[in-house]
């Protein structure tokens, strides 16, 4: 078990004119080493908050988060990588320098950095664009830069917050394949937040279905897929059943979330 | 409480001044309290007011000219797209040259005295007013212009009912900037080549090493400039409220 959350919740205290907001929880979750876990839920249920708390970007109001046995509190522990929903590539650096950014922080030798970056660039299909600036790339490619930047540091836990949200469906499916390839090659544990049910079902070993705000896990559904999988499983019968099961759980929550919004 | 913060700031500034005075001493500074007293004495001195009048008169005329000429230049440039495009870098270049270097030219043209001071104040104020007016007119919502044409408004009606109200906030910003710069320009002119006025008094006090007077005059000038700017800024913000 690599990550555990026990009775974690996050409450934003009342402020001038604003009532107290119970954004998340209570959440109990344990991620097994090397598993691929997806989180789906209606908008505003606190999925991003869950990720922030797990990574150490936000502190839980109650409960505890543990990563590799040590408590996570206020600081992001080493070994965790995050890919955000918005484009986090650094516009003033080339693709190469973006990817090298984290590595250079560790003080690695320039030769070693170049080798690792070259591998990541190749792996993410960015070879022709290593000297380009993010502004010259499409949204999907910029996300690939961010993923490469995370990858190159060999994190043991990778958190992704709707990384393919801005992309079209076909690109998403292909990026899903890439994510699976990445997962198998690195052996990392992955937590993916997505609002696309089919994406969650296709990619994950287990899918956590969250309720409307304050988000709690309604159910955690194992998919039973083999490790060697790709986007073609969308054709299988179990895929339809699993997605249907998730939507049954989610439909009511989504209606409730909309009514509140 | 919107007045609390600026008040706090003013108090802070006076505190810093007092601390500096305690550190540096009478050789180079006077305390805020002593300066206020000196200023009071100056304002009561009958030989002082003519100088204030001289500066005020020069500034008023310079600002008026800057206002009229600036608008006369800026508004047409804003309306005529191509002319505006050609003129804009020129205006920007004029804005950034040290206009002080043109002062001898002005003195040669106008001779020493009031006309030169007025001219100097004017040239400092013209460029920002022109630039802001140009932008104000240029940025009038094209939909409003088309509506006016569809309604077949006369040029006068268009100007008074649509152009002027739409462009006013930005023009007022330009006027505010032009006001401050025209004041600076007038003062600068008096510091360099004049026998009367507050700027001249300032330079005279410097050559006589009259620290009390230097500080009293500086305080007066800074307080006046800051005070009027604050009022104009309130007007500016009021006009801009609700605008993107």
């Amino acid at each position: 078990m690599i990550v555990s959350l026990r009775a974690v919740s996050r409450v934003y205290p009342a402020r001038a004119g604003q009532p107290e907001v119970h954004a998340l929880g209570p959440i109990d979750l344990e991620l097994a080493q090397g598993e691929f876990f997806a989180v789906v839920g209606p908008s505003g249920c606190g999925k991003s908050t869950l990720l922030d708390v797990m990574a150490g970007l936000a502190s839980p109001s109650c409960g505890e988060v543990h990563f590799e046995g040590k408590q996570v509190k206020g600081v992001v522990p080493p070994g965790i990588g995050v890919v955000f929903q918005e484009d986090a590539s650094f516009p003033w650096l080339t693709v190469h320098d973006n990817i090298a950014f984290g590595l250079r922080q560790t003080g690695a030798a320039e030769g070693e950095v170049a080798a690792q970056v070259a591998y990541a660039v190749e792996f993410m299909g960015l070879k022709d664009f290593a000297r380009a600036y993010p502004a010259q790339l499409s949204g999907g490619m910029r996300q690939r830069v961010c993923i490469a930047r995370t990858l190159v540091l060999k994190p043991r836990l990778i958190l992704l917050d709707e990384p393919f949200g801005a992309l079209d469906q076909q690109t998403r499916l292909l990026m899903g394949d890439e994510l699976l390839r990445l997962w198998r090659e690195t052996g990392a544990t992955i937590l993916l937040i997505t609002h696309a049910l089919d994406e969650a079902t296709m990619l994950a070993d287990r899918v956590g279905v969250m309720s409307a705000r304050p988000g709690r896990f309604l159910d955690i559904i194992p998919t039973g897929w083999p490790r060697e999988r790709d986007s073609t499983i969308v054709a299988s019968e179990s895929f339809g059943r699993l997605t249907g099961r998730i939507w049954t759980l989610l439909r009511g929550e989504s209606i409730r979330a909309l009514g509140r919004a | 409480m919107r007045w609390r913060d600026p008040l706090l700031l003013v108090v802070l500034i006076f505190l810093v001044w007092e601390v500096l005075y305690l550190l540096v001493g009478d050789v180079a500074l006077r305390s805020p309290a002593a300066t206020a007293k000196n200023l009071g004495a100056l304002l009561g001195d009958e030989r002082f007011m003519p100088h204030v009048g001289e500066t005020a008169l020069a500034f008023a005329q310079g600002f008026a000219i800057a206002l009229v000429v600036g608008l006369l230049i800026g508004v047409p440039l804003g309306a005529a797209r191509f002319a505006g495009e050609v003129a804009e870098p020129i205006l920007v270049a004029l804005y950034s040259i040290p206009k002080v270097t043109l002062y001898p030219v002005i003195l040669l043209v106008f001779g020493i005295g009031m006309p030169a001071k007025v001219a100097f104040g004017a040239i400092h104020g013209i460029v920002p007013i022109a630039m802001f007016a140009m932008n104000a007119v240029r940025n009038v919502n094209p939909t409003h212009v088309r509506t006016a044409r569809a309604l077949r408004l006369s040029p006068w009606a268009f100007s008074t009912k649509i152009l002027f109200p739409a462009a006013l906030p930005e023009i007022v910003t330009g006027i505010r900037v032009g006001f401050s710069l025209a004041l600076i320009g007038t003062l600068l002119g008096e510091m360099f080549g004049s026998q009367r006025g507050l700027g001249h008094l300032l330079m005279q006090a410097m050559s006589l090493h009259n620290i009390e007077r230097i500080l009293a005059l500086t305080l007066l000038l800074v307080a006046f400039a800051a005070g009027v700017n604050a009022l104009l800024l309130a007007l500016d913000r009021h006009l801009h409220r609700g605008l993107p």
Binding site: I80 | K99, L102, L188
Partner: protein
Amino acid sequence: MNASVARIVLVVGAVAALELLCRTGVIPNFTMIPPSAMAQSLWKILASGKFTPDIVTTLTNVGIAIAAAMIVGVAIGTLLQSSPTTRRVLDPLFATYYAVPMYAFYPLLIVIFGLGDLPQVAIGFLLAVMAVILNTLNGLDRVPPVLLKAARVHRLGPLKTALQVRLPCAAPYVFTGFKLAVAYSFIGVIGAEFITSSRGIGYEISFAYNNFDNGVMYAMILFILLLVITVNMSLHAWEKRLLARRRRI
């Protein structure tokens, strides 16, 4: 006809008109000499090296003012951005700063620092530093929060975050501050030299004026105009190249 061509025609036309008016005597020589004579005089002066020490003095002082304004301005801007309360209190100062006649402080500075170069550098610095602070603040305000989160994921402390993420992200705005710092430093230093000084370009112009030496005076005025315009245009071109990297295609 495109705008740049029209502009060049306009400027050349204006200079030519001036030349004509001066040569025909409509503008008398004791008021203004023809632009061609100004250029000739300037050439002679530069070749003779007579005013080179003044030019060096002025440029050095301007350079010091710019450097000081950038270092202090960026530092203060960065520190202020992390303290919204201080910023709110100082806001009226920011709004009123450029309305205040900075030159009014010049006599005070001379009294405090004496008659050397320091008062002029100080005026240039005082005029320039606020522009740097304001633009640095503006740029730092616009750093997307996701980049700050990314910095935390990379476990960067506050200093490294500022130097490696926030300031590089804000660089286009800091550059705007830099352009203004350059313009204001020239205005401040040369203006101050003009009012009271014993050396520098501003001083030489003032001296030539007092000695009815239009040849030298106009040559030096021309020199400053050409220098400032060239510097500003170069900065503008440099800025466009830097920004091209960030422009979405």
